[in-house]
Amino acid sequence: MAFVGYLLPPEGRNWSALADYKANGGYEGAEKAVRQMKPADVLTEVKNSGLRGRGGAGFAAGMKWSFLPADGVHPRYIACNADESEPGTFKDRQILERNPHQLIEGLLIAAWANSIDAAYVYMRGEYRGAFDNLNAAVAEARAAGYLGRNILGSGLDFEIYVHRGAGAYICGEETGLMESLEGRKGQPRKRPPFPAIAGLWKRPTVINNVETMSHVPHVIRKGADWFKTIGTEKSTGSTIFGVSGQIMRPGTYELPFGTPLREIIHEYAGGLRPGRTLKAVIPGGVSMPVLTAETAMQVTMDHDTLQKNGSLLGTGAVIVFDDTSCMVRAAIVIARFFRHESCGQCTQCREGTGWLHKLMMQIEAGKARKSDLDTVDEITRQMEGKTICALSDAAAWGSGWFLRRFRPEFEAHIERGGCPLAGVSFEV
């Protein structure tokens, strides 16, 4: 029984034109919401669906919306996170380039449910094609009366603005995004206050990822009960897994939560290159702990199962490594990334990310001592749970768990004075 996804048009098709989107059920959810449902009913439906955030943290969307103060406090905003930058993640781009009206419809329904005045879609600056495509769709939606004043006769006035970032990963952190949107460095804010109370310009703000918002039209059109038939009890619906690395058919695959990782790798993504064996899998973007091949072949892709098996679902970005890959080199790239992306506010992160990168380089070059492995472990522990945002934790997990789960390979570098897979492994 093959699952047929609902977030993206069939392979090779593009529903960016309003007519194509509408021909496939587009805007029926929004029409139903504003014509037949009270805002509170929409909120209840989203809550009942169990829809969780697809941007990394997996927080319940309906719950997040319910934190907003009661209607009457205006203006209030949506910040939609299109800063997709978690290495290995390339799913929101698919939505933005091939089905942008679905996002617009999701934002419109969220605006109705939460009495929102305007949404700002914060898109990473590198996504030029997606930016142009979404802007064109917004213009078409406005011309058709889905944006602007008194939308569909409902009395709702609502606008969407697409805003370009400029290449900083930290702006995908919710409060870093808000600082950036306001025209500042993207340095995350201390919480409380949380964005629902004081977000953009200190106003009540809903913040959700592109894919999260893209599920909303389907939840409203087909109902929470339908949505709950897909996925698992606590991870409802489908999600778009991005599969990359040493795999025959890298790409995006929309599948229900709870799909076995083995199936994603060996069936959907075509398995490994001939003659190779699986070594490791990162299941949710480089912020999330790496899994050994043995564990990877046993887990299903949902929040609970991954958590029980020592990782997290993150963005559903699956990065596959076969037996040619050096695990220390993988850790170097991750450490280098976080060193580059640390915003510099918190000492543990600013210093820790630099130390991790330098130590990983030393280990790979065979110039480290055994005690340096304990130093890496100690640094990562000092980086967890001590900073304004979670980038420091992600940096600690991302490379730290490569050491914890592949320690003998790290030790082999030290014992041999260099990389055992030199000339075989990918270069960094």
């Binding site: 290995g88 781009r93 990473r124 030029r128 900083a168 025209g183 890298p250």
Partner: protein, 181 residues
């Protein structure tokens, strides 16, 4: 070089989208880079600060914080290879080295004719089609192999010749209003 009246007008046209003018800063810097050959010349900063009602330092710290803004000149074609994990696994390092050898410059440098500069990028969000390269702010060049580089560079040289310039021009970045490519 002070900001042209035309550019000031384009920046000001963005103000109604936001409750505060300062929110236009990142967009304005994209406009300036597109207009000034891919970088933010320091003498545009005071004008921009005045227009947005902020201090020059407020502009400068944003320019230095975000990787997409350049406070020094870049080539007409600024080539960035993603060297994050999925691209490295797919051979990005070899690609980056081949590019450096072919252009005879290192990452961070500009060719003597001003046509090309090289940078490295963090994950560009194209991991299913790795390795990937971005030319200026154009749509990505995907599944790129070292053997594809000569043809890519030739195409870019031809485009530069067709636009009648070498060195910097206004093709870097976006006009920000959509549909500009």
């Amino acid at each position: 070089m002070p900001l042209s009246e035309e550019l000031k007008a384009r920046i000001a046209a963005e103000f109604p989208k936001y409750p505060e003018k300062r929110a236009v800063l990142l967009t304005a810097l994209h406009f300036i880079q597109a207009e000034c050959g891919g970088w933010v010349p320091p003498d545009t900063v005071p004008d921009l600060a005045t227009l947005l009602g902020i201090l020059p330092i407020d502009v400068e710290e944003v320019v230095s914080f975000y990787p997409m803004y350049h406070s020094d000149p870049v080539g007409k074609w600024h080539l960035q290879i993603c060297t994050n994990l999925p691209c490295c696994v797919a051979g990005a390092r070899g690609l980056a080295q081949a590019l450096e050898e072919r252009l005879d410059i290192l990452s961070g440098e500009i060719t003597p004719d001003g046509l090309f500069s090289i940078g490295e990028s963090e994950c560009l969000g194209s991991c299913g089609t790795a390795p990937v390269l971005q030319v200026n702010n154009e749509p990505f060049v995907e599944n790129l192999k070292p053997a594809d580089l000569p043809a890519l560079l030739e195409r870019l040289r031809a485009r530069a010749a067709a636009s009648g310039s070498n060195g910097s021009n206004g093709s870097n970045g976006s006009n920000g209003s959509g549909g500009g490519r």
